[in-house]
């Protein structure tokens, strides 16, 4: 490169033509001409003042490396690289006559503090959540696992956005072939910009059209750690407070960190409850349709009479009634998320009074249907993963359609299709859904077995280093 300051200034001006926040500071210290290039919106001026200008002024003749004591210090002899560094918030120093540039990190750090998790609330356990800054997130993870076994590999994805993506795994636990596969998939992403978790999820998932989530998304470092310890991998991305965990199975979406902080019997009960709610969310509206329009004989006569009397003056057929109420539920839910929180109360009033009471009184929907819709909504919210709970609610609609044609048999058909689909699905070459059919299979899936019983890691993700708990409760001997 050209050692002349003027030439590099010329080059920078070409690159940043028309950028009003680009600055090229001329300095003349001890007879040597310096140039400082930076974007004034990105740097911390007091930092520059304190750690770059002040030392330079005091010892103008010494080597720059000796004078400036900034940790983020680099040298380069490529002007293009320097331009890139300026964009990323660095300050570039050029001393006239030297054919190299100094890239000095004095960028303005604007980040929020670590908050408590807002979407994955739990009762017990850690209350830290990831934030948008990747470094902070990695810092959190490193602090949770202070070991050289935790490997962090970073990628830069996005031609323009240059998003930093970090993949974490535990060297001695994770299956190296899984990491290679993930590496291959991440490197294949070539886009202008990327947003996590949505973009990465859809670009690396196995099944393109699957409704079921194939990656677990979390904002909790402790949850990320728990999965790392099972041999899974965690992807953290700068600009996103969500970490992606993969490969996960169907069962992971029903686990909650809370399970491990309460008695294992309670944990098991809640887990079974969630699974039951999974089936309930898919099946309950469809069951209502099939009972009310195909198989009323399933219920004893007094029950049927009650159902019949609640339907007597309802104008819509059960199919339309059900779909309408389910859509209404969805609208309410979406409105609650979008509405500014002070106005959130309104939703309760609108939802509770208008839908609960007036719709029934005006004979647009039956009492029973309101109960069914409410129960379905509640059941779906029990599922800890937002992605899974939405997916499951969506699955209710085809179930309703099928049962409006075949009654209960339609519902059975639908469950068959779902289970066949789940059984055929893979994530990262691992089966997505395998029926818990052995003692080791149900250990952390159907039930939350006691901690002292969880001696082995799941074989799928961690085939070589299986032991995670040694001599549990050996004090007892």
């Amino acid at each position: 490169m050209n050692p002349s300051v003027a030439a590099s200034e010329q080059f920078f001006y070409e690159q940043f033509s028309g950028q009003s926040d680009f600055q090229s500071k001329k300095l003349l210290i001890g007879g040597i001409e310096y140039r400082l290039f930076y974007l004034n919106t990105l740097i911390d001026s007091s930092h520059v003042q304190e750690f770059i200008l002040k030392p330079l002024l005091s010892k103008p003749l010494n080597d720059v490396r000796e004078v400036i004591s900034i940790l983020d210090y680099e040298e380069t002899d490529h002007v293009e690289e320097a331009v890139q560094a300026v964009v990323c918030g660095k300050t570039v120093l050029h001393r006239d006559g030297e054919s190299k540039l100094y890239l000095l990190g004095a960028d303005l750090k604007k980040e929020r503090t670590i908050n408590i998790p807002s979407n994955e609330r739990i009762l017990r356990g850690a209350n830290e959540a990831f934030i948008e800054n990747l470094d902070t997130n990695l810092n959190l993870m490193r602090k949770l696992i202070p070991s050289t076994e935790l490997v962090v590999k970073t990628y830069t994805i996005g031609r323009l956005s240059k998003t930093k993506v970090a993949v974490m795994y535990i060297k001695s636990v994770a299956d190296p072939s899984l990491f290679e596969e993930l590496d291959r998939r991440l490197l294949s992403i070539d886009s202008d910009y990327t947003e996590s978790p949505g973009f990465i999820d859809e670009l690396i998932r196995d099944k393109k059209f699957s409704l079921f989530p194939q990656l677990l998304i979390t904002e909790r470092p402790d949850r990320a750690r728990a999965y790392l310890m099972e041999g899974k991998m965690v992807i953290a991305t700068s600009g996103s407070p969500d970490a992606i965990i993969l490969p996960v199975t169907f069962w992971s979406f029903f686990q909650s960190p809370d399970d491990y902080h309460i008695s294992w019997l309670l944990g098991t009960f809640f887990r079974l409850l969630r699974l039951a709610c999974f089936l309930l969310t898919i099946g309950l509206p469809a069951f209502y349709v099939s009972v009310s329009s195909f198989n009323p004989q399933l219920l004893p006569i007094n029950f049927v009479n009650t159902l019949q009397s609640s339907l007597k003056y309802v104008t819509f057929p059960p199919l339309i009634e059900t779909i309408a109420m389910m859509l209404l539920l969805e609208i309410l839910r979406e409105a609650t998320i979008r509405l500014a929180s002070p106005a959130g109360q309104t939703i309760g009033v609108v939802g509770g009074i208008v839908i609960g009471t007036v719709i029934v009184q005006s004979n647009l929907a039956s009492n029973t249907m309101v109960i069914v819709a409410a129960l379905t909504g509640l059941a779906s919210f029990i599922i800890p993963s937002y992605e899974m709970s939405s997916a499951v609610r969506l699955l209710g609609y085809p179930a309703i359609l099928l049962s409006s044609v075949f009654g209960l048999l339609g519902l059975a058909f639908f469950f068959m299709i779902i289970f066949i689909y789940l059984c055929q699905m893979s994530t990262m070459g691992q089966p997505y859904f395998s029926p818990p059919f052995s003692l080791s299979g149900i250990r952390d899936t159907l039930i939350r077995s006691p901690i002292w019983n969880l001696k082995k890691r799941p074989a799928g993700t961690s085939p070589y280093n299986q032991t995670r708990l040694r001599h549990p409760r050996s004090w007892k001997r």
């Binding site: 198989n295 004989q297 399933l298 219920l299 004893p300 029950f303 044609v405 075949f406 009654g407 209960l408 048999l409 519902l411 059975a412 058909f413 068959m416 299709i417 289970f419 066949i420 789940l422 059984c423 055929q424 089966p431 859904f433 395998s434 029926p435 059919f437 052995s438």
Partner: protein, 366 residues
Amino acid sequence: MMREESINGRQLITLTVMAQLGTEVLSLPHVGAENARQDTWLAVLISGVAAQIGILLIWWLGSRYPNRNFYAYTREVVGRPIGFVLNLLYGCYYSFSGLLITALYTDILKRWMFLLTPRWLIFLMLMIICGYAATSSLKRMAFISQSFIIFPVICFLLIAFSGIYGLDARNLLPVLSHGWAPVIKGVYVAYSAYIGYDLLLYAYPYVQAGSKKKLLIAMSVANALTIVFYVTVCLVCTTMFGQKQLIIVPEPIVFILKNYRIQVLQSLDILFLVFYVFVVSATIYVYFFLASKAFVHLRTSGLGNSYHWVWAIVTICFAASFFLTKRNDILRIAAFQDQLSILAVVAFPLLLLLISGIRSAGRHRV
């Protein structure tokens, strides 16, 4: 050649049980009563033991070629042209069986629940779902069967506990009142209920059960479970119904389940018929799967892929279903299929075993 992930012993048991249990659970007590009268349970038990011998036969044959599946070694045993014909026959036999079971189940649904829904529609749904399941690999299919196994268990409990509504054990007596002849006839009729263990013909090399012996044990456990299921069904039906009724009612189980009356639920027969779709389809997709594999193995290097074969079979079966509308036709064809299955599941493997035995003996002598 096709690669297949291996399955474990437990999965083999599930697959086999689910393949064995078919529409027969509903009709067996009726068909048995026509032949063996009150000794139906005995006939069913004996034919279960006979099925065990059949399993032994297939296991023996499989253990001679532990690294290849049945379709791959037929050619070696009987030569290229006959092997080709044999695979073709098996492909047709399994497609045909799949079609027939679907037809039988559709017929039951049509008579009991869907009086107006067009037959072809139910058929189409069943075909699509079973075809979809049959496109999976053996291991994934085992997963599917494992997820469905809860339904036969529920059905079994429902049937077994319907005994509390009063059964009369005297209906079983006197044992062998008409001698052995009707029982033997019953054994023959009941044998077709156990067909499905022939899955082992294809699955043998893919089972990781530890040893040859453990594989046989797994198969025997599966067969024993099926025997228990069938014998219980027959016992319950014979003790709860009069002989005259059993001969008129083709699906006595459905009548029995109508008996349940709980505070919030009654007419469990409807639930049973619906749950039964899981059990029946598990048989159908195994058959479609076996058929598609047979067609793939028509050529040593593989002919097409099984995905396309499955959908081709499904299409043909669906087309054929339009000709199967009369119940008596279906029943006649079912009787024919019984003979066919004895040929395919017992006679051919036995023949192959003999030929391969003679050949290897000859080789040893030379």
